[in-house]
Symmetry: C2
Subunit: 213 residues, 2 copies
């Protein structure tokens, strides 16, 4: 298996969103040039990215939209959501547990954990909340591989250690800090601040251009 | 003013997080090589990125940590948070309004909007919630430039139109859809799915490697 470059991984959902919209509008076939124009990418880049999914466009008619959607979803294994747990049922954790669409993006939450005794043993969106001391045992029993971390920065590492003790191999980290994991465990930091930095700077540079006019 | 490349914009918060941790640990000076190693980047790339902020490292001793932190924050204007509004006080909206740290990242929420009459006129974290029909007038009166969108996909465009009518020039879009804006308005899509795609695929490729061993 050829290793997928991270920028390609991150562009795949953009292709998917665009193709889904085209599909809803009844579009059957689409060229890499149109996809590239719509997403401000280079057509060669688009073709290279999509080749990872195993689908090749045809010279004149391009890609078959439904086939390409299915290929991207299969490539990301979003066609069969994985059982996952979430730790930290604050506002963000609650938002994530309630976001039904995650099932389309490969995540199926089956348990949540929190330290707050008033939350433990209650349910939210049909998902049971357990105490964090139960993480290692329950994660092991349920054979969960993905953990979503929506805890404050100061408890992130402690929770990560518990998840790893339970056998978690992929962590989606929303805590505003980096965490250490042993080799073989995958961490993806979902930093709000990346896109916020981009927004801040674009706003400054756009205003600068307007001021100069 | 030289236009900042988007990848540079997106890396700046990573430098900032790392430098803040170093500063907390009492580190006074740091080299681009150490920064590069820690963040898995090329040292030349690090120097190029940081040059945009106007700070240059010295050949042997590198960067002065506190000075560099201040320069990045100033470059992003995160040293003086902008008054902002949020539309859509669901779970995600609530999480964002309650996230005190946004003040360190340039956002100061001063009003929120929702369609739900049971929420309108109430307050959350000291922030008043108004009806969405009040967006154009209030945004104009308060001279707000940044709007954060945490509404469902099907009402996103309608809300964006109201924000633009009020004079908003930057939109941070958390709705799971793209939105159309007139020229001169900046949109940053904060897609969860980018990092989720990356996590999904890394997990698949890591397992594949383990299976083959």
């Amino acid at each position: 298996m050829k290793k997928t470059p991270v920028p390609t991984m991150r562009r795949l959902p953009h292709y998917l969103h665009f193709l889904n919209r085209q599909n809803e509008n009844g579009v059957k076939r689409i060229s890499s040039t149109i996809i590239a124009n719509e997403l401000s990418l280079d057509p060669t880049q688009v073709r290279k990215d999509l080749e990872y999914t195993g689908v090749k466009g045809k010279p004149k008619t391009g890609f078959q939209v439904e086939e390409l959607i299915a290929a991207i979803r299969k490539f990301l294994e979003w066609d069969s959501p994985r059982e996952s747990v979430l730790v930290g049922v604050g506002n963000l954790g609650r938002a994530m547990l309630g976001y039904e669409r995650f099932k389309n993006y490969g995540l199926n939450f089956i348990a949540a954990f929190d330290t707050d005794p008033t939350k433990v043993d209650s349910e939210i969106y049909g998902i049971k909340i357990y105490g964090i001391n139960q993480i290692p045992q329950l994660v092991k029993e349920m054979k969960i591989k993905i953990g979503v971390l929506t805890v404050p920065a100061n408890s992130a590492q402690e929770v990560v250690n518990l998840l790893i003790e339970g056998g978690i191999t992929a962590i989606w980290n929303f805590a505003p800090t980096s965490v250490r994991v042993p080799e073989g465990v995958v961490v993806e930091n979902a930093q709000f601040t990346e896109s916020l930095a981009s927004l801040s700077r674009k706003l400054i540079e756009a205003n600068y251009i307007i001021d100069k006019k």
